[in-house]
């Protein structure tokens, strides 16, 4: 009886040519295709780092990214040496590209923790294929985000005053300001994401350590592997810690973008002063985050031959989440308009009227199309299965979310209460180059990650394999499409897990 499910599974795999997206209740859909076993999974993933040279495309991408990174450096230098005046910001519009980019990147940074934390709590096993990539993306996006609040202030060399450091002036930060909340929220988020990412990576780094032939690699990986030796006791506490991190990170990930949204929601400006912002921003962030994951994963699985680990099923699920969140975002847009009209507040009503029909309606249209209309194609499975379409939708998501922030931040500021102080906002070339440069920073980091670190959580993926658990007690699992071995009870002693006998 032991062999039956295995052959069954292989047959399905062959029949559907690796399409594991069927939800046939009779069979469990594998999350790893191509009949890979433990060694094969290790090979596939480790190969990326072990192969002598990465694919051509990697070098091309790296070249472009480094160029952009250089541009970023130049722009930031120019900005700091000259003054914020080199940007397009003006009297009513105190915040523009700087903060737009900040919110945009923070938003991107949400998918990672969401996937590794929330999906973990929801027992969405398919996360294992992509969580590492997503977490890495989170870290890098947060790094990009953290750059902007620092450089957008008038005197960046004094930005450290936002931290409660004792000084000879006896002065402290003013904690009623949402900007202080940001400092703490983003700081915490960066730290926790980093820990989450690294902790998850330790066993896999150990794998790299044990496979590497060159001494340097052995030493470097060896140090970062912390001497991991796969002891069951270690695994036990490790999984606990991971679960706790997930439990902690889940409210955190929701709080971060809520806090960022407070920057606007707590203020008085019509178009900013909106109670729907926290959930609206979080939905937007998740949407944007997944868009970015898709945007990165599609080429990654092509380039590094991860198709069997980041399978069609993964893409399918991501597509569904993207579409769901995009509709939440769309709903939030509607709500804003309704409330603006319903409130009877002249200023509020005008702001939204102006947003859709005013001088910046073009950017509103871009936003609405990219965030609400474009993802609707994902209703069709054909589109979800077509990686090109997926990729384009991913790009739309990023563009759309950037413009959403543009709509909210500078656009609202251009026209507030007194018509006398209304004024247009236009970015300068420095603004544009800085934005481009931030992508350079992001891509550089991401490409380095792909080349030198385990891009897939091998250990976790291995637990998804059927042979990952002792035979003799599958009966309960047969009908499950996804299953976790850790939901077994001990086959012989029917005691609950972790029971003390």
């Amino acid at each position: 009886m032991a062999s039956v499910p295995t052959t069954e599974f292989i047959r399905i795999a062959e029949q559907t040519e690796g399409d594991n997206t069927t939800d046939d209740p009779r069979f469990r859909a594998p999350l790893v295709t191509g009949g890979k076993n433990f060694a094969a999974v290790t090979e596939t993933v480790a190969n990326i780092a072990e192969r002598p040279a990465p694919p051509q495309a990697w070098y091309v991408a790296m070249g472009v990214s480094l160029a952009l990174l250089g541009l970023l450096g130049a722009m930031v230098g120019y900005l700091i040496l000259t003054g914020v005046g080199v940007w397009g910001n003006n009297q009513p519009v105190g915040w523009a590209f700087g903060i737009v980019n900040f919110v945009f990147w923070v938003g991107i940074g949400h998918a990672g923790t969401l996937i590794s934390a929330i999906l973990y709590l929801f027992r969405q096993n398919w996360r294992t294929g992509i969580n590492r990539l997503a977490e890495a993306m989170t870290i890098f996006a947060v790094i990009c985000a953290a750059l902007f609040p620092g450089i957008h202030v008038g005197r960046p060399w004094l930005a450290y005053w936002l931290f409660p450091i004792p000084d000879q002036m006896n002065l402290w930060p003013q904690f009623r300001s949402p900007l202080m909340w940001d400092v703490f929220a983003v700081g915490t988020y960066a730290t926790v994401s980093l820990l989450f990412w690294y902790v998850g990576m330790v066993p896999d780094i150990a794998t790299f350590r044990d496979r590497s032939k060159s001494k340097i690699k052995q030493v470097v990986y060896g140090i970062f592997a912390l001497g991991w030796n796969g002891s069951s006791r270690h695994w036990h506490r490790y999984e606990r810690a991971y679960l706790l991190l997930a439990a902690i990170a889940t409210p955190l990930v929701l709080s971060v973008h809520s806090t960022v949204s407070f920057d606007m929601a707590v203020s008085q400006i019509p178009g900013w002063h909106t109670t729907v912002f926290p959930p609206y921003f979080v939905a937007g962030a998740i949407y944007g985050g997944f868009a970015m994951v898709i945007f990165l994963v599609v080429p990654a699985r092509e380039l590094f031959g991860l198709k069997d680990i980041i399978t069609k099923r993964h893409m399918d699920n991501m597509a569904k989440i993207t579409m769901a969140t995009s509709m939440m975002v769309g709903y939030s847009y509607m709500t804003e308009f309704f409330i603006a009209g319903y409130s009877g507040d002249r200023n509020e009503a005008f702001t939204f009227h102006n947003r859709a029909l005013g001088p910046y309606c073009w950017s509103w249209c871009v936003m609405f199309f990219c965030n609400v209309v474009a993802p609707q194609v994902l209703w069709s499975k054909k589109c979800r299965m077509n990686m090109w379409i997926m990729w384009v939708v991913g790009i739309c998501g990023n563009v759309g979310m950037w413009f959403e922030r543009f709509e909210i931040i500078p656009e609202s500021l251009t026209r507030d209460f007194l018509p006398s102080s209304w004024h247009a906002y236009w970015p300068t070339w420095v603004d544009l180059c800085t934005l481009a440069g931030s992508f350079g920073l992001f891509m550089t980091l991401f490409l380095l990650f792909c080349r030198y670190l385990p891009t897939v959580a091998m250990a976790e993926v291995k637990t998804m394999l059927p042979e990952a658990h002792a035979h003799g007690a599958h009966s309960a699992d047969e009908k499950r499409t996804d299953y976790r071995p850790d939901e077994h009870h001990d086959p012989d002693t029917d005691a609950p897990r972790f029971a003390n006998r």
Binding site: A39, D167, Q168, M169, N170, G222, I223, G227
Partner: protein, 229 residues
């Protein structure tokens, strides 16, 4: 599996087990050590206190203000009517030195200045940032003695800075002015006056003086606009 799995693996030496804990300790220690050092080094207590430039004329406050007991206001005439204490014009020096020590080498620059009309260029000792608007008349007329900021000038051969004159230091007094005040009957320039030894007396006196001079309350005293514009 390929051959390399049976090569002799790399193993860290035993001391490596202390490597990472060591690094962690070093980092944590540095987190406390470095800021402390920088903080102390940068604090005005280090950079400002004790600043004692050499003046063009070796004028001794110890002699004039101390031994001869000339009142500060004889030279620094404006402290009570203006926001800052002006330096005495050469004229003031010459009032006496036209007939005292007329030959002294030390006084040569003064005599020269009087002859040519070129001012003696003194080097400033007590110096505040320019966004700080300290008013001598506001303090001097409300019982704050010279000594509070300038120390025992009457004992200084050459003037040096005694107090850090940092914002934190200013706030110290502004938050609790009482102990730094002296009765109207005592001249602000009196270097020897000390508040009553008995703490309770001192307290009562402080209370009394705060009323007498109608000193503003703490909220006013430590609000930004009190010193900055």
């Amino acid at each position: 599996m390929t051959q390399e799995w049976y090569e002799q693996p790399f193993v860290f030496p035993k001391w490596a087990n202390f490597l990472l804990p060591g690094i962690v300790l070093a980092v944590v220690g540095g987190l406390f050590y470095v800021p402390t050092v920088v903080g102390l080094g940068a604090s005005p207590k280090t950079t400002a206190v004790g600043y004692e430039p050499v003046q063009p004329v070796p004028y001794s406050h110890a002699l004039h203000a101390g031994k001869l007991g000339i009142d500060c206001r004889y030279c620094h005439t404006t402290v009570e009517k203006a926001n800052f204490a002006s330096l005495p014009p050469t004229e003031t020096c010459m009032n006496c030195h036209t007939n005292i020590r007329t030959e002294s080498q030390a006084l040569a620059p003064v005599r020269e200045s009087w002859a040519t009309g070129k001012p003696v260029e003194w080097i400033q000792v007590h110096n505040l940032p320019q966004y700080v608007y300290f008013s001598h008349q506001a303090h001097v007329n409300h019982g704050v003695g010279c000594i509070e900021c300038h120390g025992r000038i009457d004992q200084m051969e050459r003037v040096y800075q005694v107090k850090p004159l940092s914002m934190g230091w200013c706030l110290g007094c502004h938050r609790d002015p009482g102990p730094h005040l002296r009765p109207k009957t005592v001249a602000v320039t009196d270097m020897n006056w000390t508040p009553p030894a008995d703490p309770t007396d001192a307290e009562n006196l402080a209370e009394q003086l705060l009323k007498d001079y109608s000193i503003h309350d703490k909220a006013y005293m430590q609000s930004c606009s009190t010193c900055h514009r």
